[in-house]
């Protein structure tokens, strides 16, 4: 348990460092790669916190697909962030600090991390853990909940992804792009 805690602390510290590097960097390719590392580290954090399914998904979708999408966008737009003109960082900093302070205040009396008596562990979770094998018949509780108990949520999620796919196709339609690229014959 203590080793877990050490790894957790180190991974999260790395993530904080990378986040600050993202703020300071201007090279957008560098930002895309750092973002990929950020996602991969968060997948590591999820593994340490016993969330294997989430870690898989984050490593594949967050670190993989998101980065590829970002790199694809960069090839079609600018590679460098322009130095910004006449923008004062004070107001954003104040807003961010106030919001952060409120959130820290709000989380300060949450139950200790790992506390088995926390209210979050006493509603539907015990029922899923105790009954899902008998009711659904597969050992992976997360899959049982995702595909059966909360199947309508997953259906809604699929609808969202379908809608997003349609939106992307509408924005970057294949026919339109072919027409535009005909004279140049590049890409």
């Amino acid at each position: 348990m203590n080793l877990d805690l050490t790894i957790d602390v180190l991974l999260l510290a790395f993530m904080a460092v990378i986040a600050i590097a993202v703020v300071r960097m201007r090279d957008l390719f560098g930002i895309a790669m750092l973002f990929s590392v950020f996602s991969l580290l968060s997948a590591g954090v999820f593994t340490v916190m016993d969330a294997a399914d989430v870690a898989f998904t984050e490593a594949a979708v967050g670190a993989g697909v998101s980065t590829i999408l970002m790199l694809a966008t960069l090839t079609r737009t600018a590679r460098e962030e322009q130095p910004k003109r006449s923008r004062n960082p004070t107001l954003p900093l104040i807003v961010v600090f106030v919001t952060g302070a409120l959130l820290v205040f709000g989380t300060s009396d949450l139950p200790r991390m790992g506390d088995a008596s926390a209210p979050a562990h006493h509603h539907v979770a015990p029922r899923y853990i105790e009954d899902s094998e008998r009711e659904i018949g597969i050992p992976n509780i997360v899959t049982s909940v995702l595909a059966s108990y909360r199947g309508y949520d997953t259906l809604g999620e699929t609808t969202v992804i379908f809608t997003a796919g349609v939106a992307v196709m509408a924005l970057l339609g294949i026919r339109r792009r072919r027409r535009r690229e005909e004279p140049g014959e590049e890409d």
Partner: protein, 117 residues
């Protein structure tokens, strides 16, 4: 141990605020999307941290184990990760269209061009 008992939450809030700062203070649209995704990831960490149970294991049933971490946040976050990528894809394709229409992805320059109309 007592010092670190809310460490995950605090780091999650820190990461969220860094992402938020990128969104409000930087002019480049791609960087804004990266900041937004960082904010998102920090919320995932917050949720998964709430699901941890001391001495628990991955919520896959095996003989001889009685303690499992809470599967409910895992399910919520699985859905959120996939939806997050879908929305990121839409945002990035909007950025590509903005680049085609305005010739830039910097917020200041886009505002200037809008003003001149």
């Amino acid at each position: 141990m007592t010092v670190l008992h809310l460490y995950n939450y605090e780091i999650a809030i820190f990461l969220a605020m860094v992402g938020f700062y990128v969104v409000v203070s930087r002019g480049n649209l791609v960087k804004k999307v990266a900041g937004l995704s960082m904010f998102q990831t920090s919320v995932f960490i917050l949720y998964i941290s709430m699901g941890v149970v001391d001495g628990g294991t991955v919520p896959i049933l095996v003989e001889g184990m009685t303690h499992y971490s809470n599967p409910v946040p895992h399910v919520l976050i699985l859905t959120a990760i996939v939806v997050g990528v879908a929305t990121t894809a839409v945002a990035l394709s909007l950025i590509i269209r903005i680049k085609e229409a305005y010739g830039t992805v910097e917020e200041d320059e886009i505002h200037e061009q809008d003003k001149s109309f």
